[in-house]
Symmetry: C2
Subunit: 173 residues, 2 copies
Amino acid sequence: MTNSISKFPVLGQEALKTAFRMHASGVAIITSKTASGKPIGFTATSVTSLGSTPPLVSFNIARGSSSYEHLVVGQLVAIHTLCAKNLELAQRMAGPKEHRFTQNDFDLHEDVPIFTQASSVLLGRVRDRIEVEANAVVVVDALASTEANDDARPLLYYRRGYLTATERLAENS
Amino acid sequence: MTNSISKFPVLGQEALKTAFRMHASGVAIITSKTASGKPIGFTATSVTSLGSTPPLVSFNIARGSSSYEHLVVGQLVAIHTLCAKNLELAQRMAGPKEHRFTQNDFDLHEDVPIFTQASSVLLGRVRDRIEVEANAVVVVDALASTEANDDARPLLYYRRGYLTATERLAENS
């Protein structure tokens, strides 16, 4: 341990980009519906647990996103975790909106699209939306899920690309 | 596409656990200090970006955690992204508190411990703490970072163990 002042040469917006280039994220798809029952959905890398009692999930979204107005309190949402074989789905749901639901590869549950090829699907309802500058933290009450597909390799986003993880380093004791 | 009702047999707390077993997370270490200048820190898998204008980061923490009382608004924090070679550090900072800072392998920046072996270090200040049931979303203004170590393989947490990712599947266009 030294008491010297460390160097932090990258500032502001660039500091965030530089540091987060090295942060890997699990890739998820969030789906819901409009007031008239049309499907909406998008790829998200900010999904995280927010406690188990009660079971809560949060994700971040830009308030300027076309999906945001539909994610009102009480709205039903499906959070899909993705595995390596879902790569095309992740890319499609991050691409142009008009192509996201044209492949008829989903079921509907109360008008919310469900991609059963995902490694797991969690159903929940929006509990709160916490607006922070141009973004929002959406808090979801977890209600029910499918049985997870235990064979899956997880899909990750890291350094502007998709990858998967195969090398286990240690088990939690 | 079928209009049939999908099956979601796992309920409540178990639903969250079942679904999130399949969600991989990047592993980070967050450090800060007590009011008397003593180091604090912990391993976190909930670190995510919350927009770039202004640059914001969020992470989740249990309000019952011993670190929580020190993460007051304005407090300086260091968010370290980790790579595969930081496995021991991730395990140590998730283990007993009395062993976390005994190895003298960190610098100090305004009394905040900095692990320069991390793949990147982002300095910021707590902007807000949003309490949700027994947990809180901590929002941090990103201020400055180190240059990232571009050779790193990211450290991940998935299915109760640590792993790393080496297989790139696709680049973002």
